[in-house]
Subunit: 367 residues, 2 copies
């Protein structure tokens, strides 16, 4: 039994925004561009969107204040502007933070909800439609129904998961990822890898979601070993497709324990989201390998690797020196992770002790 | 550069209609069930849809007069009933004929168009939403924007191709295919095969459409050699998934010369659509093999075959004795096919003489 739904029209290729500007006019009459402070200006994506909107005679407003791991308050502030200015659709440009923030704004612009209800609903009004322009190859947010925000009430990152925030259009132009610093390219690619792997290993995986997971893993297996050098545009396009495919996977399977644990490393230690997941992946494979060695062998084979040890070496090569972690932190993060919603998707639900062991062996343990 | 869009929510599995009856209530308030005279009653699909509609308190009307290769006039007759009865959504149940007819009714129920405009547009009104329940594993119509009707004006089959007729929901329950006569199972599976192969060999093929083509071919490679025996439910489910995946392929790539030629074999000689395509496939591979041997090798490898000769033997095993064809017929059909719209998707556009050669070698030639 499976259900598959992909509400986003995916448009990929060099100059695809200019060539498909008409898609924007199907979304509304006044646009709100949601992005971060700098990167969309540097990589050309913002200019391409502005030109396309001008081409289609669509007035727009720019909100360029999205930070990493955006908060609920930031989304509220932007949503208030969207209301005041009678915005009727949102264009998110950037990595996961601006895209997820754009989706949260789409909810908040039409709904009066408190911080708890923002994540749980119910919502009285339909959300504003969203278009997404990823400028990193990792989040997959352009093809998911998730918006992940920093939640001070729960001291972690929390997800809105609602089909209404699934972007209507995703524009994938790998040129926008050309100027990314190498560590960002690596951390985001590793985020895509963790989506594909966790999706394949989710209790919600289906034959259909596995088609996308396997293709994503095959592309990543080709690209990851090359990422210590500056990647070519062709490699960057493969990474962008791998990230989108892995997004389609987690849209159906959810993420698993790796994300549950990784959120604490990001929330408390400010470790990049993709890196946080990447640090944990090898230990996660060890954890599941007893009962699910067939699945793990399939993943390794698709990545063109033979053993978990080889996988671990590849991660070490990409991620470099690991952060230190103290026992008090391990205890705190394990407790948080054990309560996370997505941990239920894990094939074997880890205990707090299991999580503590994974953390201890994934980072540099200082007692 | 590619664009990918899959507007249908795909719901697959035993008893999926009953378990997801709520999906129907998102489509409208009064349903028109469009199907053939017998099979939906025998295989249980009609009863399951009726029960689901009752469960959701949705009144409905049954139109069970769809024949093989439905005509424009038949679709007009049904559309008139839909108008008179204030129907607001359509449920197609069956093989390609009822599903395609359901889509044409969805256009005609809201639009006054003549026979030419039915295929070309423009259309002044949005179409009625369509749900699709395939009961053969071949057409893929549940996930395409095509409706193919017998067109007496052009003496061939002609397609409506419009995103507005893409089904909103597709219910895939392989149990409905359990009672199919063996020759229907084979001919429809070969139709799916021709979609996957032609899609892979279309000028419109992309990396993304190829993901679906490859998976479809892999499933078919597993199932086809077993089809001279009555297939198990597990095999039937694989066939149904292969057919759906191949439908997603042609939704993006269109079909190619094989379909262009096959339409005459169906229109004039009443050869089943899938069988007509299957008869032509081996010669089609020969035709392209000079310039595109890499692609053809990839197809054969995915099917777990080594040579075109092996492929040809598999088709012979499945299709049995071939129909006779006379020179006068070859001339007439070649002329028709050379004018078909989908022949433009072929990697090397065949001349009338090329088509005549393919026909001559694909059937039993009687001079």
């Amino acid at each position: 039994m499976f259900t598959f739904s992909l509400p986003a029209k995916i448009i990929s290729g060099e100059n695809c925004i200019a060539e498909h500007s008409k898609e924007l006019s199907t979304l509304g009459k006044k646009a709100f561009i949601v992005t971060g402070k700098n990167s969309a200006k540097i990589n050309g994506s913002l200019r391409d969107i502005e030109k396309a909107l001008e081409q289609e005679h669509i007035p727009y407003l720019l909100f360029d204040q999205v930070t990493s791991n955006p908060t609920i308050d930031l989304a509220r502030k932007a949503a208030q502007i969207a209301r005041d200015q009678h915005i009727d659709f949102i264009i998110g440009i950037g990595g996961g933070s601006p895209l997820d923030c754009a989706k949260a704004i789409a909810v908040l612009a039409t709904n009066e909800v408190d911080d708890h209800q923002l994540f749980s609903g119910p919502y009285s009004q339909p959300f504003l439609p969203v278009a997404a322009v990823p400028t990193t190859a990792g989040t997959g947010s352009e093809v998911t129904q998730y918006s992940i925000l920093s939640n001070k009430h729960l001291e972690t990152k929390t997800s809105i998961a609602n089909p209404g925030i699934f972007p209507k259009v995703a524009f994938l132009d790998a040129r926008y990822t050309l100027k990314l610093p190498n560590h960002v390219t690596i951390h985001t690619a590793v985020d895509a890898l963790s989506h594909a792997m966790e999706g394949y290993l989710s209790v919600q995986a289906t034959d259909f979601s596995n088609i996308f997971a396997e293709k994503s893993l095959a592309l990543l297996g080709e690209c990851l070993p090359l990422l210590n050098e500056e990647p070519t545009l062709a490699i960057r396009e493969k990474l962008l497709h791998a990230s989108m495919l892995a997004g389609i996977v987690i849209a159906h399977t959810g993420t698993t324990a790796v994300h549950s644990i990784g959120y604490s490393l990001t929330y408390f230690r400010d470790i990049d989201h993709g890196r946080a997941n990447g640090l944990l992946l090898a230990e996660y494979l060890h954890f599941l390998n007893g009962a699910y060695s067939n699945k793990i062998q399939a993943i390794l084979r698709t990545l063109q690797l033979k053993t978990i040890k080889e996988f671990s070496s590849l991660m070490d090569q990409l991620l470099g020196e690991k952060e230190e972690i103290a026992l008090s932190e391990i205890t705190r993060y394990s407790n948080k992770a054990a309560q996370a919603a997505n941990i239920q998707n894990t094939l074997i639900r880890p205990t707090e002790q299991d999580i503590a062991n994974m953390l201890k062996h994934s980072l540099t343990f200082i007692s």
